[in-house]
Subunit: 452 residues, 2 copies
C-alpha cells in the first residue's frame, strides 16, 4: 500500500474490527499440557470445566485453529470501546530527537482502564450463555477486577473479586469502581477461604500476591454452586481474547504501509504481550516476516529473565493446574512494587515456549527508571500511563535512543495497556523522590528456584 | 444524506476536525459589556490584557466573526486526543426501553478527564506565543487544573493552581496528576494571597469555592511579572474554544443524516454547554432549524433556575470584571456537592442572555438522582461518568423516559463532559447509601439575591 501521511491516531472503522481471534498456538509445536495438581496427569476437559466456563476451556485446549470466531454479542460489546486507537508518538519522538518511528496501541480508553476488558467480556459472555450465575476472580492492580465487574454487570452475573491486599490499600478507589459495578471486593488473603486462612497463618500481615488471590478465587468458585472462575491473564484463552490488540494494530499499520521492526510489551502473566504479538509472531513462525519482540518485566519479579522453565503451579495455594512455564516458584512473593499487575511468579506457556526457543527477547527494568519514562510520556503524549504499561514505554524509549545514536530509522510498536488514574499513590512516591528500587539478590533467586 | 446504519461510535477523521471555532455571539445581539470592578465602566482591551493573554482578550471581545481560525499548533495538539467520539447509546436506550435515540459526545478520553483541555491548549498556546512565562488558575473538581497543567507542561510554562480546598481534600490524587505535570497546587483559600487571607479571616475553616479560588489566582497573576491568568469556564473565549465539541458533534450527526431534537448539557460556568450548543443555537437564532436546549444545574447551586439576571462579580473577592449574568451573588457559597465543577455562583453571559430571551430551558436536579443515573449509565454504556456530566445524563434519561410514555422517537444529544475516575469518594458515598441532598430554602436564596 502507498505510504500516506500518517495521522496522529489511526482509528479503524467498526467494520474493520477483527471477526475472529488469532490463536498463535496453531503456528507452534504443541505445548506441554496443563497437569492436574493431584494426579500430575494432563488435565481433562472435564476437570478444567469444574473451574472455567466451557467456552473458555474449549479455547484453552484448541491448538489447531488459527482463527476462532468472536461471537457477535462480544463484538457488539467491543464496539462500546473498540477499535482502540493506534497512535503515532510524534511528540515523544520529537522530545527524544530520535529518527525512529514510535507507535503505540492505546488500550486504556475504557473504564477498566486497560486491555483487560477484551477478555472479561468474552468470559462473562460464555458464562451467561452456559447458565452460570456467578463468577469469582482475583485482581492485582485492579484493572482485571474492574474489567470483569463491568462485564458481569452487563450480563447480570454476580461477581466476587479477591483483591491483593496491598493493592486494595494503595488503591481504595479502585475497589469503589468495582462496587459501583456491583462486585463484592474482598482483600486477599482473607478469612473467607481455607487457603486464605492457611496463608494468613503462615505469613501474618502479608500484603498478599496474585498467586494467593488466585488460590482464594478458585477455591471459592469450585466450592460454590453454579459458579466459575475468571482469569485475567496467564492462560491461553486469555491470550486468545487479547489478540484483538495485535490484529487491530496490524490492520492499522498496514493501512499506511508501515511494518514494525521491534514490538514491545510489558509482561506480567503475559496476556497483553501475547495478544499484541500474536499475528506478528505468527508471520515470524511461518517465515513470512521477521520482527524483534521484547518482553519487559519488573526487576522485582523477573520470571523470564531470572526464572526457570519448568512445571509449576499457577497459584500459591497449589490448587490450579501445573503449567510448563518460566517461573520463580509458586511461593515466591515478589517485593512490593507499584506495578501490581506484573507481580506474578510465572508466565504464560506460549510466551514461555517462544522465549525458550529464542523467538523473543526479555529484559527487566527498575521502577524509578520506569516512572521517569512514564512522566516523560505523560508530558509529551498527554496520557498518564499505568505503571505496568510504562515498563514497555521505558524500553521503547531506550530503543529509540539507540536509534538516535546509530541513526537508524527503526519502527517501534509498543502496547500501552492502560492508564494510571488509580496509580497516583505511586506517582506521588515518585514525585516526592521517595520511590525505591529493589532487585532480588542472586541468593534470593537461587533459594526460590531451588524449591522447584 | 442517506440514512445509514449508525455505528456505536462515530469518529471523524483528523481532516474532518474543525479548522475554526464557532463564535456564537456573531449570531446574537451585542451582549452587555464586561465592567471594570473599580470604575464600573466597560473594560478596555488593555485592562483585560493585564489579566489574560492578548490572544484570549481579542477573542473575548470579538462579537462579529462567526468563525475564528484555530491555530495550526493548537490543531496539532488537539490531534493527540481529538476528534472525540460521538456515541450512540444503544445499550442505555435498550435498558430504558425507550423509542428515543440517544447520542452523547464523549469528551473524557484524555488525561485531564474532560473537555477542559480544549480551552487549556489554546490558552497555553497564546501565552507561549506572547512570551508569557507563567500562568495561574483555579480548579474546582480538578479537571480544569489538570488540563491546564498538561497544556503548560507541553508548552514549557510554569503553572500555579489554586484548588478549592474541599476538592483538594476529597481528591488527593487529582493534585498528584497536576504535580506529575509539574504544576504547583495550593489549596484555596490560602495564606499566599491577600484575598485568601481575608477570606480565611472571615470564614475560618471554609472549604472554599470556585469564586474564592478565582480571586486568589487573579491576584497572583496580576502581582507576578510576566504572568497571566487562565480561566476554565464562564468567559466567552473559553466557550469559543469549547465550540469544537458542538462542531464535531454536528458534522458527525450530519454524516448519518441525524438531526437532534433535544440538546442537553450540564451547566456550571457554562463552557461545555455553550460549546456543545454553539453551532446548533446559531442555526436556531438564524431561523434555519429548531432545537430544544436544556441546561442542567445542581439543586445546590441553581444560578439559572433561581438566580437573578444582573451585573455581578465573577469571584468572591470582587477582583474580576463585572458581568451581566444569572447569579446567586458573588459571596454565595454553595453547599458542598460532589459535582465540584458546578459549584459556581454565576453563569456565562451568552448562556445567560439566551436563557433570558427564552432560547433555552434550564432545570436543576438533586445529586442522589444524578448518581442513580450515573450508575445506570456506567453499567450499560461502560463509562464511569463524572458527577458533573451525570447531571446531563439524568435529564437525558428523563427525556427518554418521557418518550417511552408518549411513544415519540425523539433524538436526544447530550454532552458527556468527563469521566469520574477522581470522583470515587462521591461514588463511595452513594454506594454506601450515605449521599444526602440539599436544596437551599427560599429564604436562603432570597437573602443571597437581596445583596445584589
Amino acid at each position: 500500500m502507498l505510504k500516506q501521511p500518517i495521522p496522529t491516531k489511526i482509528y479503524l472503522s467498526e467494520d474493520e474490527m477483527p471477526k475472529a481471534w488469532y490463536n498463535l498456538r496453531a503456528d507452534m509445536d504443541p505445548l506441554p499440557p496443563l497437569l492436574n495438581p493431584e494426579t500430575r496427569k494432563p488435565c481433562t476437559k472435564e476437570e478444567l470445566e469444574a473451574i472455567f466456563c466451557k467456552g473458555c476451556v474449549e479455547q484453552e485446549l484448541n491448538e489447531t485453529d488459527r482463527y476462532i470466531a468472536i461471537p457477535d454479542e462480544v463484538r457488539e460489546f467491543y464496539k462500546m470501546y473498540r477499535p482502540s486507537p493506534l497512535v503515532r508518538a510524534y511528540w515523544l519522538e520529537k522530545a527524544l530527537g530520535t529518527p525512529a518511528e514510535i507507535y503505540y496501541k492505546h488500550e486504556g480508553n475504557n473504564t477498566s482502564g486497560s486491555h483487560k476488558l477484551n477478555s472479561a467480556v468474552a468470559q462473562a459472555y460464555y458464562a451467561k450463555q452456559e447458565g452460570i450465575k456467578s463468577l469469582t476472580t482475583e485482581t492485582g492492580a485492579g484493572q482485571w477486577g474492574t474489567a470483569l465487574s463491568m462485564a458481569s454487570a452487563f450480563y447480570g452475573l454476580d461477581l466476587t473479586v479477591y483483591m491483593v491486599k496491598v493493592s486494595a490499600e494503595q488503591k481504595p478507589f479502585r475497589r469503589e469502581v468495582m462496587r459501583t459495578y456491583g462486585a463484592n471486593v474482598i482483600p486477599s488473603p482473607s478469612e473467607t477461604t481455607e487457603v486464605g486462612r492457611k496463608i494468613l497463618e503462615k505469613h501474618p500481615g502479608t500484603g498478599g500476591s496474585l498467586g494467593c488471590a488466585i488460590s482464594e478465587a478458585v477455591e471459592k468458585a469450585t466450592s460454590t454452586e453454579n459458579c466459575r472462575y475468571g482469569l485475567g491473564s496467564v492462560l491461553n484463552h486469555v491470550l486468545l481474547h487479547q489478540s484483538v490488540i495485535g490484529l487491530e494494530s496490524k490492520v492499522a499499520l498496514e493501512k499506511y504501509g508501515v511494518k514494525p521492526d521491534i514490538i514491545i510489551g510489558c509482561a506480567g502473566g503475559g496476556s497483553n504481550l501475547g495478544g499484541l504479538i500474536a499475528p506478528f509472531m505468527g508471520e515470524k513462525l511461518r517465515g513470512e516476516a521477521d520482527y524483534r519482540f521484547i518482553a519487559v518485566e519488573p526487576e522485582t519479579c523477573p520470571s523470564l529473565t531470572r526464572g526457570k522453565y519448568v512445571y509449576d503451579f499457577g497459584d500459591t495455594g497449589k490448587i490450579t493446574p501445573l503449567m510448563k512455564m518460566y517461573t520463580l516458584g509458586h511461593d515466591y512473593i515478589p517485593a512490593l512494587t507499584h506495578a501490581g499487575g506484573l507481580r506474578y511468579h510465572g508466565m504464560n506457556t506460549v510466551i514461555s515456549a517462544l522465549y525458550d526457543k529464542g523467538y523473543m527477547e526479555a529484559t527487566s527494568v527498575s521502577q524509578t527508571k520506569v516512572f521517569e519514562a512514564a512522566t516523560l510520556f505523560a508530558k509529551t503524549e498527554g496520557i498518564l500511563p499505568a505503571p505496568e504499561s510504562s515498563h514497555a514505554i521505558r524500553v521503547a524509549i531506550d530503543e529509540a535512543l539507540k536509534c538516535k545514536e546509530s541513526g537508524e530509522k527503526k519502527v517501534i510498536l509498543f502496547g500501552l495497556t492502560g492508564t494510571g488514574y488509580f496509580d497516583l499513590f505511586a506517582y506521588k512516591r515518585f514525585n516526592d523522590g521517595e520511590m525505591v528500587d529493589y532487585a532480588p539478590s542472586d541468593e534470593e533467586i537461587e533459594n526460590a528456584l531451588a524449591k522447584l
